[in-house]
Subunit: 551 residues, 2 copies
Amino acid sequence: MAKGKEVVVSPDDLSKEFKEYSVAEFFKRNRQMLGYTGKVRSLTTVAHEYVTNALDACEDSNVLPELLVEIQVLENGHVKLITEDNGTGIPKQNIGQALGKLLAGTKFMQRQQKRGQQGIGAAYATLFSQITTGKETHVKTSVGDGKVVECDVSIDINSNEPVLHNVKEYSAKFRGTRIEVELAEVDYNRSTYGAFEYLRRTALANPHSQITLVEPNKEITVFPRASKDIPVKPKKIQPHPLGITTSDLMDMAGISQARKISSMLQNEFSRLSAEKVKEISSMCPNIDLDRAPKNLQWSEAEKLVDAFKRIKWIAPETDALQPITTDQLRKSLKNLLEPEELRISERPPKVFRGGIPFMVEAAIAYGGKAGAVGSESKGEALRFANRVPLLFDAGNCAITEAVKTIDWARYDLKDWENMPVSIFVNFTSVYVPYTGTGKLAIAAEEEIVTEIRNALMECARGISTYIRTLKRAADQEERKKIFFKYITEVAQCLDEITGTDRKQIEEKLRKIAVEKTSILVSADEEEAEKDLAELEKAAEKEMVEDGESEE
Amino acid sequence: MAKGKEVVVSPDDLSKEFKEYSVAEFFKRNRQMLGYTGKVRSLTTVAHEYVTNALDACEDSNVLPELLVEIQVLENGHVKLITEDNGTGIPKQNIGQALGKLLAGTKFMQRQQKRGQQGIGAAYATLFSQITTGKETHVKTSVGDGKVVECDVSIDINSNEPVLHNVKEYSAKFRGTRIEVELAEVDYNRSTYGAFEYLRRTALANPHSQITLVEPNKEITVFPRASKDIPVKPKKIQPHPLGITTSDLMDMAGISQARKISSMLQNEFSRLSAEKVKEISSMCPNIDLDRAPKNLQWSEAEKLVDAFKRIKWIAPETDALQPITTDQLRKSLKNLLEPEELRISERPPKVFRGGIPFMVEAAIAYGGKAGAVGSESKGEALRFANRVPLLFDAGNCAITEAVKTIDWARYDLKDWENMPVSIFVNFTSVYVPYTGTGKLAIAAEEEIVTEIRNALMECARGISTYIRTLKRAADQEERKKIFFKYITEVAQCLDEITGTDRKQIEEKLRKIAVEKTSILVSADEEEAEKDLAELEKAAEKEMVEDGESEE
């Protein structure tokens, strides 16, 4: 290696090299951060962005979602993805922001349970189309007053500003949004990571939706609506004191309209009464809570958050949660899986990290169409967060962790991965603790894993009973058959001995046989459930002890 | 569940909810995208950002890096991280951009091998400090003409604009940049993921640097400079036709100063001669290459890129690569690991994906201080990309994949994970194909994994020889001892029989013994190397066949 010389470069030489870049430019070079890795996954990611937006749009406008997703493979190998919903449509003046500007939208930072959260998804799909095919994204949307707008959208990458071409406005009977996007570096198939599976799972967790998929081979699949009940809109909630950081509190103080810190605390937090304000005040005697929120200092906010942690709170409200609900979930799973047996857990919301409410809905379906599509008798674990399917990064997820650590043998499901079994878990929370970058896995925090385990074991118990009943019924059937074999002979003998009519005796014997065997079955069932409940208690105790020893 | 009603919401209601967010706001909420997950890792990430910038700054200004990293745990539990380098300093007018604005900097999009690439690292550290402690980041930097500027930097999160306070300018004998940042939600320890290990590895891969670490317990560790040779600055290179996408070509056409597409091709690409332009032109007869680049259409660019793939090219230039070099690496590993045996591969650059040059530098150190710090006889695999240590996400990395698939038993290293062994791999390229989001693992593409395997096997062969020699030497020593035991007796007998002087006979016998045993050893060595070379050839053949069968 030639030796470099120590020649000092002046700061002025450097200065002219300083440049600024737009967020569009950044993500153009870092597409993997947004889920664009691998061809199949990239297409699923685009479909996911449009579908979550469509479902949110329908929910916002209180209509039953009617979604169309069409995938075409063009002659040049590009893929065209068309999605259409029947929501409100995009306001005319916001079309550019919604589809042609990263970090713009209606959802960012709301304290309300929504599928999308970042204001980046649909706009990035536009950008991805642009950088892989050079094409604009075509949109048709209802803008109110019976008017429809159509246009082509792209992003000026240097400025992250939307560019609209061929804008047409006309009157028409159309409600909703239709987006056509052309993509390269993507691929479609029916694998676990493909768009088909994504939509199937979306349908499972959104029984009020009807989703139609047209595949490249023109095959049409309808995931039919299972229920006409529109989910109740989740409330926007105030934060619980245990769920916020110093930085959050400073942010709130910065924009609060309250005249005093004390009134901000009382009015802008959940469960924070006037009494609690007094308690906080006595714990932080050096902080004057009568000052304006905007004068709150960081070190003071730090002390307040610290005080929050030492106070006994009422658990947070849970009506900001929007679960699927047991009824709806049952309809949905029956509708799409037609299982022989279905068990759904019914458990109240819980809290993690002291202040964040969440709810787990679990179900296990057995038989029928349960199990992974396209493979005979193959079990599947379906993961959801706020009804959105989590297809990728299963390894790091709390749901996977729970599924892995359950002793399935106890429930006659040891080999569930090779049985016609669908394990379903939906995690619901205003704040989902995603791991990693892609919002594809839920952090395996202990409170969450334990709750998922318990919910799944509740379901597994019922399925186990059914599997055992099936087995016993088969056994009894065998015994009955043997018994029946000899009934005619026995009746004949009794007829000869007692003189009672053969037919009558045969009838009675048959009745006795049927009764005896069915009684046996139901007694066994009860016993089995009792056994399992005891086993589970022992297991839970074990787990708690394990958890402690790991600390 | 209460049933919602179908009430159509008008687009106007939605419109007022549309908002735009700054990139600072986005990453404030998505810190995990930038490596901020876990307390120890978050601190290492901050140290990493400053250290890579410091090393790049020193390289840019041709000085031997002299780095100080000091970590203090403050009374309130916060951590103060101080880094100081002796580079050029930050131009006064760019201090805000460099430390207080995301997506600004000198490095983004350069076709030149650099450690940092994104213009986001140091500014995000400022933001992370701000959102965890509310503090500003203090900077002191030389700005030329013997002047020094000190100030406090923060980011206006709403606008992603820098805010500078307490700006002081004065004359002083100081060259470089010193940054003091206060952090919470971080932790320091000496684990594999901690800042200590990060700096140790940085020192290994940057032998021209001197790095001093002051830990919270005031313990001072100096990773001393191993060489005074400043690495030659890598050239900025033109892209090779095989390394670019349609989108890249369109970008180039958009900013090209060339008058014709043909001259742009010829002047702005590596290995693209006038002859090649003719060849391309004959393959794409419908594209008029005499037009101005800015008139190039996407579909045309697509055809050109397609033509690139069908032409035979000269391999790309490799002088844009900046390897550590064998000499420097040897100095460095000897300096820091003081191994009993050290083998370093010497292999020329290779190419992946047809057009992207890369180079693998591998080494295996055995004995001495080799092996993981803080644990007796524990092997370690040290991964680097462009001299930057990759501490996290080992699972998905090409280097891990190569290490895992080598049959170490063949090299007497079956149990290397429990031996005093350091396996070192540095992957060098202008374009490192990182997996996932965090730039922490190299994609396991076949060409890359194969090259790493070959380089490592080359080193392992030498280490194996040494281990066998050690073992044989021990055996011979044993035999020699036994032989010596009887020499006196034998000499006595011979003296009596032949009348030759006992002393003389003893002397000769000793000489023979020593010669015989050492000859044995060196013959064994040669044989062993021959054996291994043959085994490896067989193994490589196997692997190629495996690779084919996987397709």
